[in-house]
């Protein structure tokens, strides 16, 4: 289900909340999407129109100045109804996967649209404060840290690269190996001479195990080559846990789930490197042992922790 499908229901819910909360204007929380830099003029020009936010919020997103006056750091924030965003309500909503997806996408849209006018420090989904003063007070304590992150990600973007073992190619290789066994007469010998059938069977099992291990090693080596090649272009890299078969599909094991922080100027090199790797791997065999999936460019979500490197 898309956000568009959810919109009418969400608007109705928001209207109800507004009706209840109308008698008490204090019933909002302050949600912060990101922190960004920029002078007063930039902030003024982008504040109203450029940033998306939650569709069930109490108002449009705004910029909250952080630190001392003129610090040039802003929180991209939005006031949201407590009836939907207070802890218990939020837990219940986030336990519903359509709500979670809608919130994640809206959060991402807010972060990304803020990033259109300069570097941002994304904050995690549902970073909530009891009010604007608390948000400002808390975030202002981190001004130095935010500045360091903004310097680090300025002019850079994150790209996600995932590598899967190509199960179809592996299955073909296995079938070919089995066919060779049959052609060599081993299977026939096994059937006709009872005395050797045990050892022949074990040979076959061992041979299959060796082949399988070789294919696994080959795929992992391919993934390592991909990682090395992209790392060489990147400012930084992070490897995440690979996703399990419940996400990737049982016959498509994921062997690399990485993110790379790249200078914007190196995007062409990155794309060329991926294309070259794909062409190279495909050339080694009839079917490439791996599949490569790229997504991006992302706001540098994975590179905002201090240190950041993995």
């Amino acid at each position: 289900m898309s956000i568009a499908d959810l919109a009418p229901a969400r608007k109705a819910a928001a209207a109800t909340v507004t009706g209840i909360a109308g008698s008490d204007r204090g019933e909002t929380l302050t949600c912060v999407f990101a922190v960004r830099g920029g002078g007063e003029a930039l902030a003024a020009s982008a504040s109203a129109s450029a940033c998306a936010g939650y569709s069930d919020a109490a108002g449009a997103p705004y910029l909250l100045p952080l630190g001392e006056s003129g610090s040039g750091l802003w929180a991209v924030a939005q006031d949201v109804p407590a009836a939907r965003y207070a802890e218990q309500a939020l837990r219940e909503r986030l336990a519903d996967h359509t709500e979670l997806e809608a919130m994640a996408r809206m959060h991402h849209e807010a972060v990304s649209s803020s990033a259109a006018v300069g570097p941002v420090v994304p904050l995690p989904l549902a970073t909530l404060f009891t009010d604007r003063d608390r948000a400002r007070e808390t975030l202002s304590q981190q001004v130095t840290r935010f500045r360091a992150v903004l310097d680090r990600v300025r002019g850079r973007e994150e790209w996600a690269v995932k590598v899967y073992a190509n199960a179809a190619a592996n299955a073909e290789a296995a079938a070919a190996a089995a066919a060779n066994e049959g052609a060599s007469g081993t299977a026939k010998a096994t059937r006709t001479t009872g005395r050797v059938s045990g050892s022949a069977y074990l040979d076959r099992v061992r041979s299959r195990q060796r082949d399988r291990q070789a294919r696994q090693d080959a795929a992992l080596a391919c993934a390592a080559r991909v990682d090395d090649a992209i790392r060489a272009l990147a400012v930084d890299a992070v490897r995440r846990r690979p996703h399990g078969p419940d996400i990737t599909g049982r016959h498509r094991p994921q062997i690399l789930n990485a993110a790379y922080l790249l200078d914007v100027d190196r995007t062409d090199e990155f794309n060329a490197a991926i294309a070259s790797i794909k062409a190279g791997e495909a050339g080694e065999a009839e079917r490439a042992p791996i599949e490569i999936e790229v997504s991006g460019p992302w706001v540098p979500y994975s590179f905002v922790e201090s240190g950041g490197s993995a």
Partner: protein, 89 residues
């Protein structure tokens, strides 16, 4: 800065050669179509965690995070061994 935005989108349009699966990225302003698993990897698991307010209650209670992940089946709870189903044979 507007010029930067246009340049970046243009660059991608030129350089994507069909072999690279790249969507237009956050600059497109169209989040629908952003790969959900990649998005959750980022929105839930990364970012600067701010200490000292409601944030902690929502984002740092492990049970909440785990239940979210489990419900969406979007991020694996354990590190899966590749070929843990015995491989392609």
């Amino acid at each position: 800065m507007g010029a930067l935005l246009v340049r970046r989108v243009g660059r991608l349009g030129v350089s994507a050669d069909g072999r690279v699966v790249a969507w237009r990225g956050p600059d497109s302003g169209a989040p629908i179509g952003v790969p959900l698993v990649d998005l959750l990897d980022r929105v839930l698991a990364t970012g600067v965690v701010i200490e000292g307010d409601l944030v902690i209650a929502i984002a740092e209670v492990p049970l909440v995070r785990l239940s979210l992940r489990a419900l969406l089946a979007s991020v694996s709870d354990k590190v899966p061994a590749p070929w843990d189903d015995g491989g392609p044979l």
